[in-house]
């Protein structure tokens, strides 16, 4: 008995010693990483010369947090996790009962989205709903739609595309330019923008068909940048970095959303507010996103959708089965691009202003990150990822109470992308296959069983 106690005691002290060692090591690493960038700050003085500000206290906080964190991690969190894992392994596998919620997740989610604007209006009033419907609702749904569109290319066909934002730009500029030069309406230009983007998808897709994996990623990145640079430099048409402004708003069956006599508010007998237009936009993007989802689900059960997935799994086997991989890839590019184009023209109509600034590489990276974080191919996973990543970073703007902790100069927005990047890394390390790693089969003989993520491939082309 005493023996056992002494061994656990010595194991405990050994653990503490190791934790201390690791804590000191992490502290040193943290010191090395941050000493120049946190400890010192380069600032401009009034004569515009660079001077150094010293922030050793902040640096000390960083180091202490790292040391304490590492100590707690090694001494307590890791043994606890190992214990839990062992307990889990020992306990018999309990089949997870599908709850009503998880079975009907998509229906509940759609219902919740449809009810979102009226609920918000009821809660915070018409004027107060502006922020919630626009910043959260519309903003998130745009990314949901873009990610669902890109999912066709990356998640289904396995073609790594880092320049997806180019099609978004094509859609946005198609609407912006055609409506301001020719005065065409949104409803006419929406399909036009989609078709133009799809054409660009084919044009850009054609030369890169032979490329695989990372090379494809880089060429698509290059194409995305080329389109952005052309938008910047072709000033006669695109007005360059100034962008196109004063883009016409969308109408609901010809009813305008403005303060005029026959505007929406006046016709409905409602007080004039820009919130109605935002709510209209919310339903518009919701409809477009659901269209994307519907088409994706339908296409997956079609030969072309199956061919996309087969292409992701094994291109050579596809060719041996008589599948024309060239057209299959091009249709994937074109379909994905088309939804990007739709989203783009929606973006233009929502902002009323487009400039090349909105179509930088970072946007492509964010969209791709949402697709991969969600779990490639899974519409539900991607939706969740978009809500978490975009909603999460949007919420930072709202955290004004942080000012009380960190002082009045603290602006949470500054940390938006920093936290976004960190979240990308953390989620990926935690769940390399994304939130939903399994794949839903498109056909079955007896029962539909999800295919575990360990069998699916991510494509190489």
């Amino acid at each position: 008995m005493a023996n056992v106690a002494s061994t656990t005691a010595s194991a405990g002290s050994e653990l503490t010693a190791r934790a201390l060692r690791e804590a000191v090591f992490s502290g040193l690493i943290t010191l090395g990483l941050f000493v120049l960038f946190v400890g010192l700050k380069s600032d401009q003085n009034i004569r515009n010369e660079l001077i150094l500000t010293q922030r050793w206290g902040l640096l000390a906080i960083f180091v202490i947090v790292a040391m304490v964190g590492r100590f707690l991690m090694v001494a307590y969190a890791q043994p606890w996790l190992a214990q839990r894992k062992a307990a889990k392994a020992a306990a018999p596998e309990v089949a997870k009962e599908e709850t009503f919620f998880s079975r009907n997740f998509s229906k509940i989610a759609i219902l919740a989205l449809v009810l979102y604007p009226p609920v918000i209006v009821a809660l915070v009033g018409v004027q107060g709903s502006l922020k919630w419907v626009d910043n959260f609702g519309v903003q998130i749904l745009i990314y949901v739609m873009l990610a669902w569109g890109l999912n066709i290319v990356v998640g289904l066909a396995g073609l790594l595309d880092l320049g997806y934002v180019a099609f978004y730009a094509v859609g946005a500029y198609s609407y912006a330019l055609l409506s301001s030069y020719f005065g065409l309406s949104f409803w006419v230009l929406l399909p036009v923008a989609g078709i133009l983007a799809a054409c660009w998808g084919v044009v850009l897709g054609f030369p890169v068909l032979r490329l695989r994996g990372d090379y494809l990623a880089i060429v698509t990145l290059a194409f995305g940048e080329i389109i952005r640079l052309v938008l910047i430099n072709w000033t006669e048409v695109t007005k360059g970095t100034f962008g196109v402004s004063g883009i016409a708003k969308a109408t609901l069956f010809g009813i305008k959303f403005d303060a005029s006599k026959d505007g929406f508010a006046a016709l409905m007998g409602l007080p004039i507010s820009s919130a109605y237009y935002k709510i209209f936009l919310f339903y518009l993007i919701l409809g477009l996103a659901l269209l994307t989802a519907f088409v994706t689900i339908r296409l997956r059960r079609m030969p072309v959708g199956r061919a996309w997935e087969a292409l992701r799994e094994d291109e050579i086997a596809c060719r041996s089965l008589g599948i024309n991989t060239t057209t299959t890839k091009l249709t994937a590019f074109a379909t994905g691009a088309m939804f990007g184009g739709f989203a783009g023209s929606f973006f233009a109509v929502r902002q009323g202003f487009v400039s090349p600034e909105s179509f930088v590489f970072l946007e492509s990276a964010v969209i791709l990150a949402i697709v991969v974080l969600g779990g490639m191919g899974s519409l539900t996973g991607i939706f969740v990822a978009a809500v978490v990543m975009i909603g999460g970073t949007e919420i930072l703007r709202e955290l004004t109470f942080l000012k009380m902790i960190f002082g009045p100069n603290f602006t949470p927005e500054l940390y938006r992308m920093l936290i976004f990047g960190l979240a990308m890394v953390v989620v990926m390390v935690w769940k390399p296959r994304g939130f939903v790693g399994s794949r839903e089969p498109t056909a079955f003989l007896r029962e539909r069983k999800a295919v575990s993520g360990s069998f699916t491939k991510e494509g190489h082309g």
Binding site: P303, V304, R319, L321, N324, P441, R446, R448, K457
Partner: protein, 295 residues
């Protein structure tokens, strides 16, 4: 030195004439000709590195031969020059299907889905190149049902029906081999090319494979061309054997003829010509023993 022992086949489905394939300075296939008869099982054998898979890749369009002509003659009388067709059209139009030495499965898709992918072209037409299908036209629904039935038929043949809804990557090796053959059959081929179908199989699985191939031929009349190392498979099921060494044909005939061809024995065992007689005797002795223990 090339020996001309080509037996003129009555109704060849596939004619390979003067095929040569060069990789840089290496002549992988040198002036190789043979014919595969309709409705027969033709085996292409040879030591490692003889160029068998290269011949296959030329026939199925994955390589473009340096020289030569490959003619596929369908039942209807239509002829296709395979060396001029892109790989996917060889399956689609000329109706030549193939399997691979290293199994190429759509491992993340279910067994059934694998077989549905193989019916792509048929379904593509039925779905009006996706447009009609997207709009929910009944022609596609009927075609989808038919294709599931065809898949079910081949799953039963390949005794995979119980695993139809499992991911293909989850199947054991032998089942994956059978699935690959079933998948190739779902393209509706007239000529089925199998690249070492018995590689890595245990005797029981290899026996099941023989049965599957025999029944494919008997029921569909599909001609089979196979590369094989496993002599028990080759000798048992093939009607016609072609032997390749260093990219050249060294023997061509029925299994018995080839088995006793001193050149083949020399190629496989690497012995001097004088010793060949001796070796043949030894082999016959061994075979006698095996035949006794087998059944």
């Amino acid at each position: 030195m090339v020996i001309e022992t080509t037996t003129m086949t009555k109704d060849p489905i596939l004619k390979v004439e003067h095929l040569s394939m060069r990789f840089g300075g290496l002549m992988a296939i040198n002036d190789f000709s043979f014919e595969a008869a309709r409705g027969e099982i033709t085996a292409l054998i040879g030591p490692n590195g003889a160029g068998k898979t290269t011949v296959f890749n030329c026939i199925t369009g994955f390589y473009k031969p340096t020289m030569g002509m490959i003619t596929m003659k369908q039942k209807s009388g239509d002829e296709f020059l395979l060396e001029r067709l892109p790989d996917f059209e060889i399956t689609k139009r000329a109706k030549v299907a193939r399997t691979f030495q290293n199994i190429r499965m759509f491992s993340g898709m279910t067994v059934l889905e694998n077989l549905l992918v193989a019916q792509h072209n048929k379904l593509m037409q039925a779905s009006g190149y996706t447009v009609l299908g997207l709009l929910g036209f009944p022609t596609y629904r009927q075609a989808a049902k038919d294709s599931t039935e065809l898949a079910r038929h081949w799953l039963e043949k390949a005794s995979l029906i119980d695993r139809a809804d499992d991911p293909a990557g989850d199947l054991p090796y032998g089942a994956q081999r059978r699935l690959e053959i079933a998948r190739a059959m779902c393209t509706g081929p007239e000529l089925l090319c199998l690249d070492e179908p018995a590689a890595g199989l245990n005797p029981r699985e290899s026996h099941a494979l023989n049965d599957l191939l025999q029944s494919i031929r008997a029921e569909t009349g599909t001609s089979i061309l196979l590369i094989e190392h496993d002599m028990s498979v080759v000798m048992e099921i093939s009607d016609h054997v072609v032997v390749l060494e260093y990219g050249q044909k060294i023997s061509d005939g029925n299994p018995d003829f080839v088995k006793n061809d001193p050149r083949v024995i020399a190629a496989y065992l690497g012995v001097e010509d004088e010793e060949v007689e001796e070796v043949i005797e030894q082999i016959e002795e061994i075979e006698g023993e095996h035949g006794g223990t087998k059944q």
